[in-house]
Amino acid sequence: MSEILENAVKGRFGEFGGQYIPETLMNEIHKLEAAYEHYKNDPEFCAELDRLNREYAGRPSLLYYAEKMTRDLGGAKIYLKREDLNHTGSHKINNVLGQVLLAKKMGKTRVIAETGAGQHGVATATAAALMDMECEIFMGEEDTIRQSLNVYRMELLGAKVHAVKTGTKVLKDAVNEAMREWTSRVDDTLYVLGSVMGPHPFPTIVRDFQSVISKESRAQILEAEGKLPDVVIACVGGGSNAIGSFYEYIKDEGVQLIGCEAAGLGVDNPKNAATMANGSLGIFHGMKSLFCQDKYGQIAPVYSISAGLDYPGIGPEHAYLASIGRAQYVPITDEEAVRAFEYLSKTEGIIPAIESSHAVAHVMKIAPKMPKDSIIVCTISGRGDKDVAAIARYRGVEIYE
């Protein structure tokens, strides 16, 4: 043990990452790390996860050629990686099936999780129901109001939902509260983190489970087009669907990787959540990464129309990919995202999550300027049913769910 303590500088992506958490959690996080290192190579675990992915989540997800959108934008061929078609309606299921199965193997009987839009909460509650685990979800009070349907959904699935009333009452506060809860009960509980953030090994575990997205899309595009895409695009909050969408292409240097972050009312307006554009180096939520913060390191309140991207930080591997220039990150405003939401609905008959709409918005910007034989793969991380009422309100139409 003492040797591990002395030599531990692991779980780093360049200078980013690390394990900045209270001592109370350290042995548990080491146990999690050891369990993951074991089970990720365990044939039985892998076979079970593979079966769940295929038979329960509905994988592989489709890589859909958006022909009408391609024609309308008049440039690059656009393919959509349809994570919205997964069971529970988003990419979040990829991670939770893996983590809840891992929790089960570790002998845990209870899982806790944070959620922003509710997608990760719903996915965790679903996996917990399937695998007979007790489940408690922490959700900022603001978000329980914005996404009340998802609160009821989680309860329907047997989870207990805690509306977090501290701080800014959104995603970051939900993470704070889930971490606090974990320090009070570690023996039977795994904190199922929803994004590629937090202390090591979470950014690695979540990335590995989400990388099924790019594993599939890379094979699918080669099958369909006989070549790799020129650009892969995904939205970024903490960054789990983006890292999952990028991961298998990182080694393919010719493939440009673009993450779309939430600029809210604009990067120059205080109401945004654009961490890459406005953030600076910091240590928070267990990791060294980029955060929106003031000059004294107080975490800034952030804003986005999308509850799922409304987070003041970004996963450490994204911060690393940006620092070495392997991936680019662009800000997309609420207005641009809403327009993309409406555009994809009308053009392809696909209603994307408002989070995913940030990625679609960037496709709309760059596709027309790209040659016709070039290819974009854009991840539709989730479906937009949950957002319909909010978008209606944004457009001045009052709908009551």
């Binding site: 303590l5 240590i283 060294k288």
Partner: protein, 255 residues
Amino acid sequence: MSRIQNAFDNKKAFIAFLTAGDPDYETSLNNFRAVIEAGADLIEVGIPFSDPIAEGPVIQEADIRALSSGMTTDKVFQLVKDLRKDYSIPIVFMTYANPVYHYGADEFFKNASEAGADGIIIPDCPFEERGEFEGSAAKYGMDFISMIAPTSEDRIKTIASQAKGFIYVVSSLGVTGVRSEITTDLDSIIKLIKEATDTPAAIGFGISTPAQAAEMSKKADGVIVGSAMVRIVAENGKDAPAKLAEYVKSMTKGL
């Protein structure tokens, strides 16, 4: 040897925590003065943070009050300077990794040391990551104080053997806050610590009554009280200094 040792010389130390700037600079300064005059042996000065993940609701709210009143890290340094005009009591900061890291660790410890602080506790910086801060702290003569928790088990000896200043023994799982009872087997933990080091060990988290303080001080070299004091600040506003003094006297009596 650092000034921190003075708190433990020939006595059980009463360590008092308050959030700096709660509810405002002047009241907070008066609160610290009252606590020191009433007989605290060491004070923990909380540098407020927007997202204190190791704190329960009482101290979270204190952080919000302090930040809303315009408290900043530089003003906390000023507060310590103001205290240092009159008192030589050991003073340690308690804050989170980000306010120190983002300030610039070297600059932070330089200013902290110039202000007159003797050490720092950073609950979200475990042993493995101490390299982030320990070097800069040592450079300016400040102790980077280690924590040991009920879950530390096989980590206790390694952490204790390298500890500086004092060891913060976390009494219970969870976050800071008043608890009606403490069920952790602290005797076993303290025994392991004592086998590894002569550095004093103080118990914190959940201690609020004189009876608890007396019981815990039998087990360890000192007791740390935070939430119970912060609650007095929250409930008494400008009248807090007198109430705090009364409370500290009641707590130190049984040590």
